[in-house]
């Protein structure tokens, strides 16, 4: 079978010592930064992005992926032990996980979360391996018209499923698309929005934009909030779950994995939606729904498996279609672009060892996650209680040197300050920066395909509904928009995303 030969190619690639090493470094750094208070996976990836740029493409992408699940898992550790979820998708874990920790079952909660995540990660990786190729085959047949509609659908769907006001999210996509215009127009060679600055001829730097929007603005936002400095972590007595806890977590892990694998493929808030959905499902099927909120094992096992599965399968749209579905995947796509690889269906066929190596490395990375997290949990917890007053100068310095080290360009460092300030102001007005980075990454692709379509069709806009594939995608986009705009759904959506 094809999948087996592909996966064995991937495994042989992932097991090259340098790739194992960078996978390890990625998972380690991701966990390290992810457990620090106030830093979610997006901020972690943005801050660490500069470090991967000097590596060869396969090592760089493997390391970025490692950073992602390291950060994701680091957030769960702090959610369970000190009730400080590093990111939105582990807020659910904190509900019952922290209660378990209060009852002295923090160790087992961590082991269950790690075990569930590991299982979910393995299954989700298999899902990627099975789904990615046929999807990419389909996408390869797409004309410029279909691709334009697909990108539009991707953008609309990802903002619809994300939190916050739809209108504001759409505005942020448009802003991101506009920022993506800066630089030289590929068709005519004329400079756009460069204001005569030679440094802008190649466009805005995605690293500087990401570091500013997700790193610096995060610091600004955190400084505003009142900080209850350093929480005294609970002592952990014993790690292994008892037989009863094991038995209670089997079902939730299986259900969470299934749910997460499906929801992760959808654009938007895959991992977040998955963990909320899994919690709701577990509460519904449980014989003791009253235990939820009071340290129910299922309330940790289900959501943790679900969000890890979703984190993994959210790679599918980016890897097979070239369309990142959330800010984290936009950063992955940005890292690929910097390495000279244009994300899209062709990657898998032109560069199979890179593609399958990345997928197989997810197995390696998930295993490392378990090995790193369980024995070293004491260290992570100590890190999580580092006071913010020491932490944020370090973050800021790391951002500045990191960006400067890429190309010794002072302008890029100055722009992280400006993007950071802009991001902070946007957050203050409840405009989320995630759709912006999506628009920024997809902008050039969208414009190129749109212009090619119009050139080929002689300026006929109806071509978008004449091609059957494009028509289907346009209808889907319309349905998504209408559904989200419906008052009943809008209310439900607000409830779902309420913390």
């Amino acid at each position: 079978m094809d999948i087996i030969s592909n996966l064995s190619l991937g495994i042989s690639q992932a097991l090259i010592p340098t790739n194992i090493w960078f996978c390890f470094i990625g998972v380690l750094l991701g966990t390290l930064v992810g457990v620090l208070p106030g830093l979610g996976p997006t901020a972690t990836m943005a801050i660490l992005l500069p470090m991967t740029l000097t590596l060869p493409p396969d090592a760089a992408l493997i390391m970025m992926a490692g950073i992602y699940y390291g950060a994701q898992y680091g957030g769960s550790t702090t959610a369970i032990l000190i009730n400080l979820p590093g990111e939105a998708s582990s807020t659910v874990t904190a509900i019952d996980g922290y209660k378990m920790a209060l009852k002295g079952r923090g160790g087992p909660a961590l082991v269950i979360a790690a075990g569930g995540s590991f299982f979910a990660g393995c299954v989700a990786t298999l899902v990627i391996a099975v789904l990615a190729e046929p999807l990419a085959q389909v996408a390869l047949e797409f004309s410029a018209t279909d691709y334009t509609s697909l990108i539009v659908l991707g953008l609309i769907a990802s903002v619809s499923l994300a939190r916050g006001s739809l209108l504001k999210a759409l505005a942020m996509v448009a802003l991101g698309l506009t920022l993506g215009l800066v630089g030289t127009d590929v068709y005519t060679g004329s400079a756009r929005f460069t204001f005569g600055l030679p440094g802008l001829a190649d466009g805005l730097d995605i690293v500087a934009l990401a570091v500013g929007l997700f790193g610096v603005s995060e610091v600004l936002r955190n400084l505003e909030a009142e900080h209850t400095d350093s929480v005294e972590p609970r002592k952990i007595e014993g790690l292994m779950p008892n037989r009863e806890e094991m038995r209670q977590s089997v079902g939730p892990v299986l259900r969470g994995t299934g749910l997460g694998s499906i929801l992760g493929v959808l654009p938007g808030a895959g991992a977040l939606l998955a963990s909320f959905a899994s919690y709701a499902v577990e509460k519904k099927v449980s014989k003791h729904p009253d235990q939820f909120g009071d340290g129910a094992v299922a309330g940790v096992a289900g959501p943790e498996s679900a969000n890890n599965a979703a984190a993994q399968t959210s790679f599918i749209p980016m890897l097979s279609l070239g369309i990142p579905s959330n800010a984290i995947m936009a950063l992955m796509a940005g890292a690929m672009l910097i390495q000279g690889i244009v994300p899209g269906p062709q990657v898998m066929f032109q560069n199979p060892s890179l593609f399958w190596g990345l997928i197989a490395s997810m197995w390696v990375g998930n295993l490392m996650l378990v090995i790193l997290n369980i024995p070293l949990v004491g260290i992570w917890i100590r890190l999580a209680s580092v006071p913010y007053s020491i932490l944020f100068p370090a973050i800021m310095i790391f951002c500045s040197i990191g960006v400067y080290s890429i190309s010794s360009n002072e302008l890029h460092v100055i722009s992280i300050a400006l993007f950071g300030l802009a991001g902070y102001i946007l957050i203050k007005m409840d405009f989320e920066p995630a759709p912006l980075i999506l628009g920024f990454v997809l902008g050039p692709l969208l414009e190129e395909n749109f212009r090619r379509t119009m050139l080929l069709s002689d300026g006929d806009l109806l071509v978008f509904i004449k091609s059957p594939i494009s028509l289907g995608l346009v209808i889907l986009s319309a349905i998504v928009l209408v559904i989200v705009a419906l008052p009943a759904v809008r209310k439900k959506r607000e409830v779902v995303f309420e913390d």
């Binding site: 470090m51 006001s165 209108l167 504001k168 759409l170 505005a171 448009a174 802003l175 698309l177 506009t178 215009l181 127009d185 068709y187 005519t188 004329s190 756009r192 929005f193 610096v216 610091v219 600004l220 400084l223 505003e224 913010y388 007053s389 020491i390 944020f392 100068p393 370090a394 800021m396 310095i397 790391f398 951002c399 500045s400 040197i401 960006v403 400067y404 080290s405 010794s408 002072e410 302008l411 460092v413 100055i414 992280i416 300050a417 400006l418 950071g420 300030l421 902070y424 946007l426 203050k428 007005m429 409840d430 405009f431 414009e447 212009r451 119009m454 050139l455 300026g459 006929d460 806009l461």
Partner: protein, 152 residues
């Protein structure tokens, strides 16, 4: 209901930005037509979209009302923003070591309950740590001492 809220201000800036993009690109770039798009076509389109979205956000914000903008701590915001700028301006003339020290000092005094002694200590340790990490472990070639100082 107040006219100054997250939605009205945010929407207003969005529509203003859209308008500027629209006017700037329409007046400086050839727009062309759907059949033969010039470099200005998509910018004009996006400018209009931003303008429309901004207007809708303002209208909805006025009609349904939205929460007021919480004030920002001006001092820490300015100091944090100044830090990368200071780093960028200083790193070539005085070198990595002192630029890091200056930039971390700016951030560490940003916190409202910062004490100078503690800030100096944090900045000094961060400087040593970054030199160890970036210059030695990662081999970033930025000179530790800047051109201005060596020239003396």
């Amino acid at each position: 209901m107040s006219l100054v809220s997250k939605d009205t201000i945010g929407g207003f800036f969005t529509l203003l930005l859209g308008l500027s993009v629209l006017i700037f690109s329409a007046s400086t770039l050839p727009v062309g037509s759907l059949t033969e798009m010039g470099p200005g076509f998509v910018p004009v389109l996006l400018g209009s979209l931003l303008f429309i979205f901004g207007t809708l956000i303002v209208i909805l914000g006025v009609r349904t009302g939205s929460s007021a903008i919480t004030p920002s701590p001006l001092r820490s915001t300015l100091l944090i923003t100044a830090s990368p700028i200071a780093f960028a301006l200083l790193v070539r003339p005085i070198g990595l070591a002192m630029a890091v020290f200056a930039a971390s000092l700016l951030t560490s005094i940003a916190s409202p309950n910062a004490k100078l002694g503690m800030s100096l200590l944090i900045s000094a340790s961060l400087t040593i740590l970054s030199i160890a990490l970036f210059s030695y472990a990662l081999g970033v070639p930025t000179p530790l001492v800047g051109s201005l100082i060596r020239w003396w």
